[in-house]
Symmetry: C2
Amino acid sequence: MSSTATAPRDTPYLELDLDTLTRNLARAAAAAESSGLMLRPHAKTHKTPKMGRLQLEHGAVGLTVATVSEAEIFADAGFDDLFIAYPVWPSAGRAQRIRGLAERVRLRLGVDSVEAAQRLGAAVANDTVEVLVEVDSGHHRSGVSPADAGDVAVAAARAGLAVVGVFTFPGHAYAPDARESAARDEASAITQAAQSLQRHRIDPAVRSGASTPSRTATDGTVLTEARPGVYAVNDAQQVELGSCGFADVALTARATIVSRRGRDVILDAGSKTLGADRAAWATGYGRVLGLPDARLTALSEHHATVSIPDTETIPELGDELRVVPNHVCNTINLHDELVVVRDGAAIETWAVAARGANT
Amino acid sequence: MSSTATAPRDTPYLELDLDTLTRNLARAAAAAESSGLMLRPHAKTHKTPKMGRLQLEHGAVGLTVATVSEAEIFADAGFDDLFIAYPVWPSAGRAQRIRGLAERVRLRLGVDSVEAAQRLGAAVANDTVEVLVEVDSGHHRSGVSPADAGDVAVAAARAGLAVVGVFTFPGHAYAPDARESAARDEASAITQAAQSLQRHRIDPAVRSGASTPSRTATDGTVLTEARPGVYAVNDAQQVELGSCGFADVALTARATIVSRRGRDVILDAGSKTLGADRAAWATGYGRVLGLPDARLTALSEHHATVSIPDTETIPELGDELRVVPNHVCNTINLHDELVVVRDGAAIETWAVAARGANT
């Protein structure tokens, strides 16, 4: 317990409700177990070793990260089983860092091209790096088409790497009513990719996928591992996609009303506190706890305009509101620490140790 | 000069071209002088004391900041004339910090309500805090209507504060073809607000405004001070608004191509490197130096999809590109340091000392 956390703080800052977080983790652990999926949560959401530790205590087999530097920071914090779910390009500097990591932890990496597989093999062969081939299941970001997964796997195996399976991110689940179809696309792509590896006599033992919005539809007969990230704390996108309710939101930005004009109030939390994310289908730049009909209708770096409808009472200058950010992964990455609260009282601060770890 | 800066770096990271920066600063200084405007650049763009120092060397009379914590960090770095151009709400903790700042530097603050003026006066009266009344000139964010500026000024004066003038941010200049009309709105609002103060026998000696897109149209016969921020380094928004050309962009994110699919290449710089800003009128999530027809058509946290048109050659896996972010203020706030380059070679790193200073 940190004494500084209990003093009044100047807004804006991030609050993490510990009981809500714990409930989210327990629920996901139970769901994964009943689906026969191993849980490897994505730590890019929180970048916070204390939260990663709680995830391991709630049944996670290891953590997923997005970058080599995130892996380094979680390795420094004592985590020993990490999957960099990204098509890592092994430049000279990065290859050296990967070798260093592989000496300390069980390390898995993504590859999505023959070129990257060959380069990675040349850089780290004879080490203990395991690779998974990334497959595009419909999000059309990185990843090879499922039928080509075998070619990349063969290149990786010939380059001396241990190919352990395939992975995908069904990010096209981030749209209204897309969860079921995205999960079906994922199961189909992973099935095809696994068959592509098997045709080359490579065992796709690990078949990894899932996203927070689609995770309840993830096919546990096809996949072996789920990598949700946002589920731990949730955000306004998940509320608006119907993946959770406001009661499941564990992370909010506490902000003060600094200005008023008509039915608009201006908060001191803007894009440098919340992030500038706004999907095409989002109803605004975030939501407000206790004011479900209000919307963040404009956002600058240090101003959020909250439009209060007739159905709700306009709060006063100086009042503090709790904003639910649209996309919590980008929100947390703007902050050095999270104020952990229980029953509304601050009890600790947790360091966002991997903030800004992009390399 | 830092020796680490000259070693090859793993992408993504931010590069600052020193000669382009210096040329931008010199040009703005000359323009301000010929318009009869004092220049008080907004340091929220760069949060970097080394850049603020260069701005003072190029004629700036002091710096503008957005938050009390930015002011504290620049005061720590030796800056002694700071304007917090924001309607600061003086909560107990913040009021104490404002008193501390006023003992160290010449401090100006914004107010935009009678309530804030009274509270601020009660908290810091008998100190040397100067205030400016914020006026809404058409951006409709914070700020009172020009005719009400006098009422706020009177409340501030009665509360024991030194009222020195009025300020506005013509942010509605951030739209195609809006620069001239936004600058006219600004001149009109500042004129009305100044008259409103004068009717109450308060001298509006400081009349502060301007934005990067509208700055060439700022009326130097009405305003006394300009507070542009982005002009120092520019960004894709300014290129697309016609405020500058690619040759004037001093800050870029260096990123590596990690994946390819058809005419799309995927960079390792996403919203955690660039920021997620995308105005309604923007053509994408950023631009690429040397590929003027390419667009960032999709952005995740660690992926940017660059769509290469037929008119341009598709770069190779592993190639490094230089991305021009849409909104550089949010980009820089994601990074701890800037790699300063001259003639393409890294010569120094500058600390983004005020990164994350939101309170």
